[in-house]
Symmetry: C2
Subunit: 231 residues, 2 copies
């Protein structure tokens, strides 16, 4: 099979996001509609923190297999974006501040027993995917980032509107991501569109992106089941 | 068994370096005595390059398992030290310049077929060790760095004295390492002396350091056998 032209392949990937990214998940739709209870919001923040904690780890696995210094130099930014540097707070600390703004302590966030089993399974599967699969698929699984900016900018607006009990400073994580993501997205597209040079590789990338959509979706399923109004 | 006090444990580790670090290897002694042929010197530079290329990879594996953001923030410097950043050339590029100063092209250095099998086995074993062993042992295996500054400062002097055909700019890699290593060594000692809190863990760290000495030693064995005067 000959590969799709890059533009069509990119469309194929974007169509996956339109259909399967977690912006469509009922729990997310309720968040944006102002429909979450405080308990639900806290349950999401606490459990999503486990995902945040694992981002630098999965990105370090990607780093172990990227082809050469130049790509590592660009990818490593993702790790410092979350871990921070001596001069700059990282995303994990910003998420702690989101937690505090919804009434969770740092200890609550780091209490490993509070992670829902379904969330742990999904996040651990993502880390294992990045550890075990070829670098191109591990990179492709990060492409949910292509769909994040729209969601994040709506989230900042909607959370401020509907959840006045959350201090605006708690939303700094999302604001910062909006400034960090354009460079990440550019690198992702460059890597995937260039290196998926057979139709088989393109399909493997599409499957990796679907898998990652499932990870994010399942995370919300677990939170919904455990903390949802009818739970 | 109760653990040794930190100072005694550090002495135990330093004694391993005194007995088994590659400064004692005959090939290294001949390098410092001015006894290497051009062919031997090039053979060493070319094969050691495979080790250099793998340093950021083994360090990314360590990064995947270090306990938390703060230690990753300190460890990640090792990766950028070798890969460089947008503003600063990295160690891999500096080693390319060492290669060029001994008459190897960039293509020679990157020609995978030129890596001696014994060198490949040793270096790959080091990467696998960092991938597969607990983080404390992976970290401990980096402790050969404790013995590097003495060797590197002597190397700069001895190479300049005995090998006038090598342009002094080729030695920039070694000069830079001398400025990078103190922070690395401080972090290594802090991690290993603090976290090896049982005698069993201390012994595992000592074994990891012995293993790493074997890696460096075997690399020189292979180079000596392939390029040595009597080869």
């Amino acid at each position: 099979m000959t590969p799709l032209p890059a533009a069509e392949f990119e469309e194929e990937l974007r169509a996956i996001g339109e259909q399967r990214y977690h912006h469509l998940h009922p729990f997310n739709e309720r968040m944006h509609a102002g429909d979450l209870t405080e308990d639900e919001f806290r349950g999401w923040v606490r459990n999503r923190f486990y995902y945040q904690l694992n981002l630098p780890i999965k990105d370090a696995f990607v780093l172990t297999k990227l082809p050469g210094s130049e790509h590592r130099r660009r990818w490593i930014k993702r790790i410092t974006d979350h871990d921070g540097t001596d001069g700059a707070e990282g995303g994990i600390e910003r998420w702690v501040r989101l937690g505090e703004s919804v009434g969770l302590t740092r200890a609550d966030l780091h209490d490993d027993r509070a992670v829902l089993p379904g969330v742990r399974f999904a996040v651990d599967a993502y880390v294992a995917f990045c550890r075990d699969r070829p670098w191109l698929e591990a990179v492709a699984s990060a492409m949910t980032e292509l769909f994040a900016p729209d969601l994040l900018s709506r989230r900042i607006t909607d959370v401020r509107e509907h959840y006045p009990w959350i201090a605006p400073s708690g939303l700094e994580y999302f604001r910062t991501r909006l400034t960090q993501q354009p460079a990440d997205i550019e690198h992702l597209l460059e890597l995937v569109l260039t290196h998926a040079d057979t139709r088989e590789k393109q399909l493997a990338c599409a499957r990796a992106l679907e898998f990652k959509c499932d990870v994010l979706w399942t995370l919300l399923d677990s939170v919904q089941l455990a903390f949802g109004k009818d739970a």
